[in-house]
Symmetry: D2
């Protein structure tokens, strides 16, 4: 799996001259989009197949600050998947040093926007996530 690269923009820095902490939540989304594409379940396919996966929780630990022009490498892993929840973990590094670790959880909605079992609704996607998760063990 290729890491996702985010180059920190000037407008992402703040008065402390570092990347504002809220932006890492956005970097997680960018990396997640890239990850889903890499595993063959990009947003366009999910949308076409009538499934969406909103964020139900996020957490972020800030280890080292970053700033304008830093090149953040983000690795995404599936840490757990059940028929109704997907758990992802993120490791962000700059030049090999960890700057942030993070997690997000997601539910699954069908095309009517109702919570659904991914296992029933889209078993190939569920199996794909399960295999990636088992790869973690």
């Amino acid at each position: 799996m290729d890491p996702y690269i985010h180059k920190v923009q000037y407008y992402e820095t703040d008065r402390m001259q570092i990347t504002h902490h809220s932006n890492y939540i956005r970097f997680m989304e960018e990396a997640r989009v890239g990850f889903l594409e890499q595993i063959g379940w990009g947003y366009d396919r999910l949308e076409a197949e009538g499934i969406s996966s909103p964020v139900v929780s996020v957490s972020c630990e800030y280890k080292k600050s970053t700033t304008f022009a830093d090149r953040i490498e983000i690795m995404v892993r599936v840490t757990d998947v059940t028929p109704v929840r997907l758990h992802l973990a993120y490791t962000m590094t700059v030049d090999g040093a960890v700057v942030c670790t993070a997690e997000s959880s997601h539910c699954f909605l069908n095309e009517n926007g109702r919570p659904t079992s991914l296992k029933k609704q889209k078993p190939e996607f569920y199996d794909c996530l399960l295999r990636l998760c088992e790869g973690e063990a």
Copy 2:
């Protein structure tokens, strides 16, 4: 007409320790929403009546920098209105000193998302804007 007040947030500042210039475009939107509400044509009413008014252009002149915790007062004026275009001007001040002047232009879309003549589609709103505009003369 009451000015709209925006208190600059920490996350709106940048590495130069001032409010990032892109945020003023957002302050314009905030002030515009407040202005439309004050004249009795808030977003909820516009939406209910099936009219929307997307931005077709913006311009901004930055006169003085602002920063975290500054209290920006924004006055909005109708500078011109035609059946198909609305032109607004914005003056932003902090403690009476002008920090930014700006303009935006808007078209009108009907509920099918197609360009429409506001004069035909929603004459009361058109007349309301026209009166505010004439007030400028």
Copy 3:
């Protein structure tokens, strides 16, 4: 303690037509700034006294979606304070319904940007936080 009010802006919504989840991290900062002001330790005073308190971690649970023009009430509580860490919790409601619960942790830096013991560096502030925390019990 008064709740902090954030009115959701149009530019804070996303393609799913709800407030983008990353923005809640920013609402937390807004509420924190207001909270510190209310307890007499606003950013300007902290800055003047040479102390800062960067975010070391955040977490957020999204309970219900919100959208443009929603009025989010945010209550901030001190859940724990040690000489080197401050833990805050946030409850966000719209019309009485919880939309998001969140937490943040903070360290303390002295005027040279070095980690410091708040208890030694600024005992009145430490005691103030301690009292607010005990009030939780």
Copy 4:
């Protein structure tokens, strides 16, 4: 000169399901940073040489909407340069269709943050911009 590529992020879209108009001002900054790097005067060099070039005005005409996952190509041109002002123009396209045209103006500050003549302060940079501008004629 290579175009700068910005891939629209999910968090850059709004409730109308299109890229929020304020973000184009940020795309301009991204493209400008890339442009300055390409001509050999990247932000790190400018900073090292004690020169900065804040935005004094921006304008933007929105021609077509874009949305999540669109790949915006941005070309930057020098339209005018004087000892105290730099004028840039931007053309943004998606699949060859123009989605936005924009302009920005910049002044020059020396290391003390005071307005300065670029021609006197950093003649090589001034000449470089002048040559690029003449290329426009």
